[in-house]
């Protein structure tokens, strides 16, 4: 049987001869990133229920100052700087760094170009636009700033690890602190580990620690660092999603504890 109605190259949007559910992955990425983006936006401006005892939501870490009417015990400054407009919440001052790191991340770029711009929607699936400029010209040439966001992200890993450490020390009722482990401690520790796994597997870091060189045989420390980053980099997508989900989960947990919906179970 002949099929004259079928052309070899059909470039209408969404055209493909693939039989599999090619739309499933971009749809999942679209929904995942949209939900996280909207939730982040809400958390930034909501400014309440961001701490519970020794726990601090990672969306607010580091907490430069407490929002009006709150004394969390986690803030770095005594109060809001006078020069800062009142509408600016503390988390807005810090979240640009981790969000910028994720936005310019090589994995996420490939994922959201497909999911949000359909550029392409999936492999061998036709696109909605004829024009294509790629990352070689404005505006996407800005993605090359990724390594600078990496430097900030590395600082954030240290800060979140410190927050996990602080989550081990609970008020003992006598004005002092005593060692303990709660579910929140495990959650915040998991958050620091997952974020560390994601950040330390970054393609830019891999380049900076060793990829930049053609020969690593004479530099054992550099070689070990390159091998370790490469090891994490092989599962970069997995680390990216696990750390993203865990950040959200950590905030939800602290929020629910703070609201009294959940009571934090102390293991030790």
């Amino acid at each position: 049987m002949n099929h004259p109605e079928l052309t070899l190259t059909d470039r209408r949007f969404g055209q493909t001869r693939r039989h599999d559910a090619w739309w499933l992955q971009p749809l999942a990425v679209f929904l995942g990133l949209s939900v996280f983006g909207l939730y982040s936006l809400w958390v930034v401006f909501q400014g309440d229920h961001y701490h519970h005892g020794p726990y601090l939501s990672p969306f607010y870490a580091p907490l430069l100052f407490d929002p009006a009417g709150h004394i969390s015990g986690h803030s770095w400054l005594a109060g809001r700087p006078d020069w800062l407009p009142l509408w600016v919440p503390p988390s807005l001052l810090i979240l640009w760094a981790p969000l910028g790191f994720r936005f310019t991340c090589y994995y996420y770029r490939g994922a959201y170009y497909k999911a949000f711009w359909a550029d392409p929607p999936s492999c061998t699936v036709s696109e909605p636009r004829k024009e294509y400029r790629g990352e070689g010209s404005f505006p996407l040439i800005i993605q090359n700033v990724h390594r600078y966001f990496l430097y900030f992200a590395l600082i954030f890993v240290v800060i979140l690890a410190y927050d996990a450490w602080k989550a081990l020390w609970f008020d003992n009722g006598n004005g002092g602190k005593s060692f303990g482990i709660g579910i929140g401690t495990l959650i915040l520790t998991g958050n620091a580990i997952l974020l560390g796994g994601y950040t330390l597997g970054c393609h830019s870091l891999r380049h900076l620690v060793g990829g930049i060189r053609d020969r690593l045989s004479g530099a054992p420390i550099r070689r070990t660092a390159y091998n370790c980053v490469s090891c994490l980099n092989r599962r970069h997508m997995l680390w990216a999603w696990m750390s993203l989900c865990w950040v959200g989960f950590s905030d939800v947990y602290v929020r629910l504890c703070s609201m009294g919906v959940l009571s934090d179970w102390r293991i030790l």
Binding site: M1, N2, H3, P4, L6, L8, T9, R11, T16, R17, R18, H19, Y106, Y107, R109, G110, Y113, K114, D119, P120, C123, T124, S126, E127, K130, Y132, R133, G134, E135, G136, S137, L140, I141, N144, R147, H203, S204, R206, H207, G211, I212, D214, R215, L216, S217, R223, N233, R234, H236
Partner: protein
């Protein structure tokens, strides 16, 4: 014996159509076997390029059910046979006839990449010394069989026809193999940025997914090259370092 329908593109650069061929299939067959069976029994003039039937020559590249594949490595038990199996030529290159495309553009691109330029020999007998761990990284790139499936799936070539501005994943792998070689002294970064179009790659990883040799094209070749281009042209701190670094 079971039968399956293969919907094969028949035609040349000017005109053509898909034609259904029903043929018997048996256990262990690959798509190329079925195409050969159809060629032998029903369509003697069906043009198909092939050579090794072992996934090593890279000749029988085509699109099977919309996925760029080596026909000789696509087993029939891995694809649904209850619907017609579409077999068509690669889309990124000019069609010659039926399943055969003109891939000579790739040969011309390869000629433009600066060749291997080793440092002076390490020993008096004109040989060099390399550590295995230094060569391991580029060893992966040498697995390429030049099937051009990565070129075919890349939307920059396939969808946007930017053949004059973008050399494609295969040649970023080739450039990476040279650029990262411990003996090589050539600098190809300016060409990679300006004429080879590495900035057009938007890291969709389709090339990595279709590579029959499982070369991690995007993560191990393209992104490291992108990072080297950033070092050279976009990173202001790196530029500062270069200004103050003593000349070697």
């Amino acid at each position: 014996m079971a039968t399956a329908t293969f919907r094969i593109w028949r035609g040349d650069a000017n005109e053509g159509k898909f034609v259904d061929y029903e043929t018997e299939v048996s256990e262990g067959m690959v798509v190329l076997d079925a195409v050969h069976k159809i060629q032998a029994e029903q369509a003697n003039d069906l043009a198909v390029r092939w050579n090794c039937k072992a996934g090593k020559c890279g000749s029988c590249s085509a699109e099977v059910n919309g996925n760029p594949k080596l026909m000789c490595m696509t087993r029939l038990n891995e694809i649904p046979l209850d619907a017609p199996v579409t077999v068509e030529p690669m889309h990124a290159f000019p069609l010659i006839k039926d399943l055969v495309t003109d891939v000579s553009w790739n040969f011309e691109v390869k000629k433009k990449i600066k060749p291997f330029n080793p440092r002076p020999a390490d020993a008096d007998d004109g040989t060099w010394r390399m550590a295995q761990e230094d060569i391991d990284r580029v060893q992966e790139f040498r697995k390429c069989i030049e099937c051009y499936l990565c070129q075919d799936v890349c939307h920059v070539l396939r969808e946007h026809d930017l053949h004059d501005k973008f050399i494609g994943p295969r040649f970023f792998v080739y450039a990476a193999a040279l650029e990262m070689h411990p003996l090589d002294t050539e600098n190809r970064l300016e060409e990679l940025k300006n004429t080879d179009g590495i900035g057009y790659c938007n890291i969709t990883k389709c090339c990595t997914k279709v590579c029959p040799e499982h070369i991690t094209i995007t993560d191990n070749a393209i992104i490291p090259l992108k990072e080297r281009v950033v070092d050279q042209f976009y990173d202001p701190i790196k530029k500062l370092f270069r200004i103050f670094r003593p000349k070697q």
